[in-house]
Symmetry: C2
Subunit: 404 residues, 2 copies
């Protein structure tokens, strides 16, 4: 007789997971998931690194490891922040089981039930789930084309929040990036509200197709906030290796929580990444290739939308990442209505509502552009736009008085 | 300005981790950790399986995977329960990031703050930490040589508990195993208290050196309780792959919590294990070799203790697992006093107190017998017993009236 704890009642159903079940048929052109293209996995290099790491250092690689992660990997990650003028050491880095785990750990060490988490609106569903499970309350600040709305952030901080969760690079689900001045302003705001911890989730930051890199807010706070990174998008998500960078006292508390959560992240997966780097795998060149590949697909989607989208449709044009955000004409069908019509034509996407905490998104949709080829993206967008045009026409017809 | 959440105040410091830091010098003979012997890792087979799995199926192995785990691995695990007369399917199995993660997930889906968890006394520190983080209260039932004290369990169940956590095989820290009649009686008791979920943590069950296998309580409850297993002790802990078996509705709720915790367990590590099994790795024969190896070390420790331990010292003689439990003469030094004296002689172990929730263990110690060679075990036990003998003598001398 299983009666779940109260916290489970707060966790939103993952509509995306349910959608993914119906969209995994190979004939469906899916813009629904958030999957990297397997062609971008450096499979040969990872396979060789795995064989070498386990073959040469099995006593260490197959053994229990420190909760904080392998020291050399933490050092390597710490040094990567030098390009932002941050001088970090391994004490600033915790290896996590994907960056998703960092959200669970930060929630655990920071949130009492009922504490407020400030989120961008819309936001990443996995963050909503992780903080909901810890019985957080939510405050929201809308997004503008230049990043989160600063006035709304300030109002929320005045009312009090323990944690401000933001995705400044190629935001999931919208594809929006915060510009440099928004990041500077956020860092200044956070300094005024030291009881709120800024958590900057940055899994897509290195997937920039064009335009100059914008340093993270973490650089503007001089390392006083939290920055989350991941090997999932630059190497492979199946490794489940991410990291949390931040002040040592938060890293230590998160390590205590991590010990109770899974003891440590797979030594094998950490060692495979280390071996890859030690063997001279050209990571920057690899990332460039991945960016070129995804950039082409993003362009294919943007071009197809420009060509085929009915009037009144708007969409973001991300400079990187994996998603763009489609805003349907407000007088037309909801994105859920469009979803059902499009599924009949073999095209899938995620309607906007699951990404909103308190309503919203009824006429919006998230489209992923990394998982399908450019040709299939063009086909899929064409079909999607035809569906939308038909639905708009039907709505218009139904409103027009009949001519007798 | 970091002020941690209330739940962090409940988490006991891991004294063991602190000890491990001082005991990792190679010259120290350490009985403190809980590490498998790296010689027992089938490194060559794992290395080859990794290379094959990634090389052949990279698009799947390096990609995101279902939260529940790879279907074939869940099927393989489900089928292993047939030997206990249980007919399970993949819907009964959740792959976890080590069996430690199962404790976090079960706590999350079952416990409201202040809910009672019934634990054996002493118990596994990682379970105390995981449930403490979820603000559980604890009730305890002492161990007898035949397993947990049934009358104490019944009294605790009458007062109400959400979860009963037990380690019936080669218990950590004591090495005690519950006999068949205790397991049957527990299953009957649990049927009378359906609001309490029995969680049977069984990482060591397959490390049986002698004596017949005793089916888990999970078999006696006909699959109505939770059974936790792990590849850490039979293959390698660095993979971080464990599992939770139980009723589908609990598996589903735990999968929801797992999605927010780390999305899924490393696809790479799951696929390596699957590849190993598909390639015909002789797991039963491998486990037999591991058991023979550890059994020899356990015997070395038991023989050395029989030979050298001063009168009044008692110790368990486990039929498997990784630990035995030493009870010092009550009139002598505490195990903490012995710890400091032994460390000066280059011998480490874990004093008993961290394993107790509300005091106790002051004259007890946990000794690991898997990490050191039989020769070093003999040396270490000899030195440890000499320290104990000296401390006993000093205590006796200090109590004797001086002869003038």
């Amino acid at each position: 007789m299983f009666s779940p704890s109260r916290r489970m009642a707060h966790v939103p159903q993952s509509f995306i997971r349910e959608i993914l079940k119906v969209t995994q048929k190979p004939e469906v052109i899916s813009f629904a998931g958030g999957l990297p293209d397997p062609e971008c996995f450096p499979a040969q290099a990872i396979s060789e690194a795995a064989s070498r790491a386990i073959g040469r250092h099995s006593a260490r690689v197959l053994q229990y490891a420190p909760t904080e992660g392998l020291l050399e990997l933490r050092q390597w990650i710490a040094q990567r922040y030098q390009r932002f003028g941050l001088s970090l050491g391994p004490e600033n880095v915790l290896i996590t089981t994907g960056s998703q785990q960092a959200l669970d750990l930060l929630g655990k060490i920071l949130l009492n039930p009922g504490d407020t988490v400030l989120m961008e609106h819309p936001s990443y569903l996995g963050a909503i789930q992780a903080f909901s499970l810890l019985e957080a309350r939510f405050a929201t600040a809308p997004l503008t084309p230049r990043g989160v709305d600063l006035a709304a952030v300030q109002r929320a901080l005045q009312r009090g929040a323990r944690l401000f969760y933001t995705i400044p690079n190629f935001h999931n689900p919208t594809g929006i990036s915060a510009d440099a001045s928004t990041r500077q302003a956020l860092a200044q705001l956070m300094a005024e509200y030291p009881q709120t911890l800024l958590v900057e989730d940055d899994p897509y930051g290195e997937l920039r197709f064009h335009g100059p890199e914008i340093p993270p807010i973490f650089a503007a706070t001089h390392g006083a906030s939290i920055h989350l990174g991941s090997f999932s998008k630059i190497l492979a998500p199946g490794l489940r290796v991410g990291w949390m960078a931040g002040p040592p006292e938060i890293i230590r508390a998160a390590a205590t929580a991590k010990q109770a959560a899974d003891l440590h992240t797979s030594t094998v997966c950490q060692a495979v990444i280390l071996q890859l780097l030690e063997d001279g795998f050209p990571l920057p060149a690899h990332i460039q290739r991945v960016c070129a590949h995804y950039g082409e697909r993003a362009q294919a989607m943007i071009h197809a939308l420009r060509h085929a989208a009915p009037q009144g449709t708007r969409f973001t044009e991300p400079e990187g990442g994996m998603f763009l955000w489609l805003s349907l004409p407000p007088q037309g069908p909801t994105s859920m209505e469009l979803f059902h019509a499009a599924m009949e034509q073999g095209v899938a996407f995620v309607p906007g509502t699951p990404f909103f905490l308190d309503g919203g998104g009824a006429h919006a949709a998230r489209l992923n552009f990394t998982a399908a080829s450019s040709e299939r993206i063009e086909q899929g967008i064409l079909r999607l736009c035809q569906c939308l045009t038909s639905l708009l026409q039907a709505k218009a017809d139904s409103k027009r008085p009949e001519v007798s």
